[in-house]
Amino acid sequence: MGSYVPSSAAEREEMLKKIGVKSIDDLFAAVPRKMLVKSLDLPSGKSELEVSAIMTALSEKNKVYKTILRGAGAYDHYIPAVVGSVLSKEQFVTAYTPYQAEISQGILQNIFEYQTMICELTGMDVSNASVYDGATAMAEAVPMCKERKKTKAYISATVNPAYLEVVRTYCSASDTDLTVIPAKNGKTDVKALEKALSDDAACFILQQPNFFGLFEDAEKIGAVVHAAGAKYVMSVNPISMGFCKTPAEYGADVAVGEGQPLGMPLAFGGPYLGFMACKEAMQRKLPGRIVGQTVDVDGKTGYVLTLQAREQHIRREKASSNICSNQALCALCAAVYLSAMGAKGLSEAATLSTSKAHYLAKELCKIEGVDLVYKGEFFNEFVTTLPETGKVLKALDKAGILGGLPVDGGVLWCCTEKQTKEELDRAVAIVKEVLL
């Protein structure tokens, strides 16, 4: 019911008179008659109360777990209250891309602050204003690295498989040769990488910590990649940047990742936030919006969309990417989250997540038949063997716990700062009970 059209019947008549037609349908004279829709196959419109009831009922058909021990690209971190408050401000919610800088300074300045924070997290020089998610950020990094004689992309088999799928799609679209470097004991097989990289290698993509939660030997890999004359692309979990070595410290040329852990809800997969940052030398190859600082005619500091000569509305088919809309509100979310947490809070989130994951791993591995599948240091995810996986997950589900994700060779578990020791002990007790 209703279409949010505010004009009255009398006003519409007045408008039609001014236009010089009898009815609105006359304005559609260019549409061939036989094409006109006779009846739209949709239910009748509903009142707000009915819509609210329908949507609420739909939402209640989903199960929201009290304890979530699953990550694999979507992480259940605590969201400070101030984040939701800032994000609901109508100016931020309802504005378009800040094309008119004079009346968009709030958005532009936020992007500038966001870019600064992403540079600080990753150690990189330049960040863009966001792309769709971590997977597309990874895929968009490939064309950044390609040059006339550097055309082939390489990626580790230890990246999130959902990301690998997206990189494959983008490479298939542009006819870019993509080689997957196999894993050995849950980590990138560095020897295989060294052997595989050819003279025309454009880049190698690594995820740190990788899909299995393990820290890769990223320094050595960086040296191998650079020795082959290729660019080094590293995808990182932004929470890990609370204390982990940055892509810049590992020698990466491009840093990308999924920003969802920075204040965004799980939300069945989106909207999330793809972040991208690079060394200064590559800034003109970075896709997407970039905000720069400048001055106005009175010499007052202000912000504008800049380096637009890279973008589709100027360069059309020669643009660095087709991206137009991005995830601006999610970038705002990340900036508010990082402001609320500060360096101390971010480091705490990283420490708590790691510590809880290690505690859970230790406790789970006390159960017979449950063992870590891979040796090596890990962040907040790890893979264990798990007999009777289906049964165990079902028992956890009954208790309101979303267990780890079944993957090749076992189950991928995840912890964040949200789970208490009590919750973890309870989960372990349930696993134990099933496997007794």
């Binding site: 419109g45 819509v51 809800p265 087709n322």
Partner: protein
């Protein structure tokens, strides 16, 4: 305005997280960063006020008229925001078992059905995150289809009119197609002769908006799609302008094989200062097997099952798409229903024609015909006679609390201002904006300098774009 980094005191922090209740894990030093990142150090009050200050320096749809052509800046209903924040939607992990996400799957199922009904398509994926992402997806559908027919190596050309959005050729280039730009006819529509000359055995497809970017419904649309089909190519519909024709005419009936929609334009979801959007891609049955993303089916017992299309070409994004945006759009479609959907489009067209009829008394129309949901002014003459450009006029609007129209687009119109009022603006607002335009024309002739100097009353005045690009300052430097 101070930057967030310049506020607060070093060492200040909020109490957000508890003490660790398990043994603290110490990772080896070689895995640790050398120093902590510089992040803000503010109290919650300072933090909250900082963003309130920023918000005050932003013009949103809620702050006034926003006739940004091609962007459909309609009102964003609040019920949509409310339902998208329901914990049953926000708290769900994307990798949960189907049996625990029946509500989310039903949302995807229901909106696919509704959007197919509105567009005349047979299947649709909600995975693409934005319009351009949808274009990429749609072109990959075409590419996959051509590959399945063994024609991908021959059919390499995508035809794009010179009036098209820049994303069209950019998306085609990402899919390794060669772009053939064809000139528009003098009426802004597709030049049939140019199209006939461009198609051939190497044609992969045509990308088109209808109504087109000059706001005109191309009356030859059936002939256009037939020319492309006869040559063996496919027709792609850029849904940026769907707000003109929802419930009136369907792209599927115009002869298009696949489309993308912009839920953040046509279906009222807010644009968030640049995103997130949602760019679902619909297609005819013969392309459906190639669709990426989550495909939802309904069992005989009424349960919803997620899966993948048989020959899906891959994925364009991790997980199922910008789900909370999709939730908002579904609430909008439920509210409007079969009566409200065409009513919205018809009133969008009415509002645009009313503004056009009033403004053509003072300004030159790029194309003097009834428009659809938007129209284009050309300030070429005004510019020559007064020196006042489309940019100057736009900046004059800023001082009057009005967001300017899209400037200098489409590229085929000199000194273009593209105006899209949308259906959610009351006549009273249109009249006040029309009055502002008329007053600005007077100012242009009487005191052009005033418009070269505009804006005067915005948080900042005209900014130095050249300096920003030549000596880029892209981040705050900590001392």
């Amino acid at each position: 305005m101070k930057l967030i980094f310049e506020r607060g005191e070093e060492g200040q922090f909020l109490s957000i997280l508890p003490k660790c209740d398990v043994p603290v894990t110490k990772l080896p030093e070689k895995l640790k960063r050398a120093g902590a990142p510089h992040l803000p150090h503010v109290s919650e009050n300072e933090l909250s006020r900082h963003y309130s200050t920023l918000a005050k320096a932003v013009h949103g749809v809620n702050d006034g008229f926003y006739p940004l052509g091609s962007c459909t800046m309609k009102y964003n209903p609040k019920i949509n925001e409310q339902v998208s924040a329901l914990p049953g939607f926000t708290g769900v992990h994307p990798l949960q078992d189907d049996s625990t996400v029946q509500g989310s799957l039903e949302v995807l199922y229901d909106i696919e059905k509704a959007l197919c009904a509105i567009t005349g398509m047979d299947a649709l994926t909600l995975q693409p995150a934005a319009g351009a992402h949808g274009e990429f997806t749609g072109l990959m559908l075409i590419k996959s289809y051509l590959r399945s027919k063994g024609q991908a190596d021959v059919r390499k050309k995508i035809i794009v009119p010179d009036s098209a959005h820049g994303t069209n050729p950019a998306s085609a280039a990402m899919c390794d197609f060669t772009i053939v730009n064809i000139p528009s006819a003098p009426d802004g529509c597709v030049d049939l002769d140019a199209l006939k000359a461009a198609v051939g055995p190497d044609t992969a497809g045509l990308m088109l908006t209808n109504p087109n970017t000059v706001g005109v419904f191309d009356k030859n649309i059936l002939e256009i799609t037939k020319i492309v089909h006869d040559a063996g190519g496919l027709c792609y519909y850029d849904g940026a302008n769907l707000n003109a024709v929802m419930g009136v005419v369907r792209p599927g009936d115009m002869g298009f094989d696949c489309i993308h929609l912009n839920l953040h334009k046509t279906f009222s979801t807010p644009h968030g200062g640049g995103g997130p959007g949602s760019g679902p891609v619909g297609c005819k049955a013969f392309l459906a097997d190639f669709l990426p993303g989550v495909r939802v089916t309904r069992t005989a017992k009424g349960a919803y099952k997620s899966g993948s299309a048989k020959k899906h070409f891959g994925e364009v994004k991790a997980f199922g798409g910008n789900f909370l945006v999709v939730v908002r759009a579904l609430a909008y479609i439920l509210t409007l229903g079969k009566e409200g959907i065409p009513e919205a489009s018809k009133n969008a067209v009415l509002n645009a024609n009313y503004m056009q009829a009033c403004l053509k008394e003072d300004y030159d129309l790029a194309f003097n015909v009834y428009c659809m949901h938007e129209f284009v002014l050309t300030l070429d003459r005004l510019h020559k006679e007064t020196g006042v450009s489309a940019l100057d006029l736009a900046k004059g609007l800023l001082d009057r609390g009005i967001h300017p129209p899209t400037m200098y687009f489409p590229l085929i119109v000199h000194e273009a201002l593209m105006i899209e009022p949308t259906e959610t603006e009351p006549k009273e607002m249109l009249d006040s904006v029309i009055a502002a335009f008329k007053e600005l024309k007077k100012v242009a002739y009487e005191n052009p300098q005033a418009l070269h100097d505009a804006p005067l009353h915005t948080p900042v005045r005209r900014l130095d774009d050249v300096r920003a690009a030549r000596t880029p300052v892209l981040r705050y430097k900590f001392s």
